[in-house]
């Protein structure tokens, strides 16, 4: 009998103290995705990666806004959004106490504005993404003169950029295509 008590005391208490004391979770625990709207550039990489469609991005050109939404209800805590986020705006925390009585509390959203093209005035990308691209270029050490040139480029929509480069005589290589056609004709002969 005493032997039993002895081995019981030796084995100790295996029950975690959880609701009364905080629970230690492991280093790699994937809990609630912590979102920092300030660092987000609304690039929508996370919404593409999300396997459960818990992350949604809606673009409304007429309201000049792009809305990001996270539904904790659907989230499967896989960490894919963290993997792909270029700015580290979304990080999985160790928070696991997520139960709610009101479903609306499971949703987080953020609204961003769009950047308009210099030429045609249509919205083409989130403003913060455009600024971020420019900041990266500046940080990579390009000269002042180039900065101004790149600034114009970055703030123009792809459609207008294409038109511009078509009009730029240096960019058009007619000769290349002509030669190809010529070569093919020779082969046939």
């Amino acid at each position: 009998m005493f032997k039993l008590f002895k081995s019981i005391t030796k084995a100790g208490d295996s029950i975690v103290k959880y609701p009364f004391a905080p629970l230690d979770v492991s280093d790699d625990f994937r809990g609630k995705p912590e979102y920092n709207a300030k660092d987000c550039i609304a690039c929508a990489a996370c919404t593409r990666a999300c396997p459960a469609n818990a992350l949604i991005m809606e673009t409304k050109a007429d309201e000049n806004s792009r809305r990001w939404e996270l539904s904790m209800a659907r989230c499967i805590f896989c960490g894919r959004c963290e993997e792909v986020c270029p700015t580290g705006a979304i990080k999985l925390s160790k928070e696991f106490e997520l139960a709610v009585t009101n479903k609306a509390d499971l949703y987080e959203d953020a609204t961003f504005t769009l950047a308009h093209c210099r030429e045609c005035e249509t919205p083409f990308a989130p403003r913060k993404a455009v600024d971020y691209a420019m900041d990266l270029l500046v940080q990579s050490g390009i000269s002042e003169e180039q900065q101004a040139k790149r600034h114009e480029q970055v703030e123009t929509c792809p459609e207008c950029l294409r038109k511009q480069s078509m009009l730029d005589y240096d960019n058009v290589f007619h000769g290349k295509h002509l030669n190809n056609v010529h070569l093919k004709q020779e082969e046939r002969v």
Binding site: P19, K32, S140
Partner: protein
């Protein structure tokens, strides 16, 4: 066939939506009384509406000696007629809608309905399948949502405590608007862009995508913070603190590739400026 209970027709007979079972005022009043009286013991009945069994495993993990939900009187019972709490798991497949409703009707009023897991809360990864209704709240009124895929045993205990009104909910919904002139912060501004790419690629190749990203982040943080003299000691201090041979190996590799990148390029800044 005219009207089916709990089913609403949208367009014709092929397109339907479910409506949650209505709850009358007396039941809601009774429920608040139940919450006061229940105090010690709550019997849980688990309703599987077409889940993958991950949630069930975690529910049973919560009743094991480590988490021991039974010390709070939470007991898993075999019949809905004994239950105070109904735990709905799974995305509610078409086949399981009726059995789930029967379990709900069989449980004595007042009952607490808990939606368990990502599938129970909103359909989870199955939300847009043709054969699921997508969430418990489509068929019955839900009191508490426990998200997670699956929720850990600790989250289960917390959720049940919220359902019983012992603990308060911590999560709050939020809505943020972009401020004027707000800018995303650039990370590791001291390191050239190409080197960042090389470090990150190497780290992700060695440690897998998510962990590689984290390790590359830590490595570049150390590089940014230290000078040429202190970089070795800083890295050593970090590795000693972590004490992980795998991390040491990866850091050695990262250090080597970044050194090679530095030495291999004769004019790092100017060469790039000209392109």
């Amino acid at each position: 066939m005219s009207e089916m209970k709990g089913i609403r027709e949208i367009v014709g007979k092929d397109h339907t939506a479910t409506v949650p079972v209505p709850q009358d005022e007396n039941t809601i009043k009774l429920k608040s009384v139940l919450l006061e009286d229940i105090q010690r013991s709550a019997y849980v009945y688990r309703v599987d509406c077409g889940g993958c069994n991950g949630c069930e495993i975690e529910i049973f993990a919560a009743t094991t000696p480590v988490f021991d939900a039974e010390r709070f009187g939470i007991k898993v019972v075999a019949s809905p007629r004994h239950a105070d709490i109904l735990l709905f798991t799974g995305a509610v497949t078409r086949a399981m809608r009726m059995p789930a409703l029967r379990a709900y009707e069989a449980a004595p009023d007042p009952k607490i309905v808990v939606s368990y897991g990502a599938c129970g809360c909103d359909g989870g990864i199955f939300h847009d399948l043709y054969c699921v209704w997508g969430g418990t709240d489509k068929i019955v009124p839900v009191d508490v949502y426990i998200p997670g895929c699956p929720p850990t045993p600790a989250a289960t205990i917390y959720g049940l405590a919220v359902a019983l009104g012992i603990l308060d909910q911590k999560l709050k919904g939020s809505s943020v608007k972009e401020e004027e002139g707000e800018k995303a912060t650039l990370k590791h501004t001291g390191i050239p862009l190409e080197m960042k790419v090389i470090i990150e690629r190497e780290a992700r190749r060695l440690a897998g995508y998510r962990h590689g990203g984290l390790i590359a982040d830590d490595f570049m943080n150390i590089l940014v913070e230290s000078t040429t003299e202190t970089v070795d000691t800083n890295i050593k201090a970090y590795l000693d603190e972590k004490d992980d041979p795998r991390l040491r190996e990866i850091f050695d590799n990262l250090y080597r590739v970044s050194l090679a990148e530095l030495c291999g390029r004769s004019q790092p800044a100017d060469a790039r400026a000209e392109d």
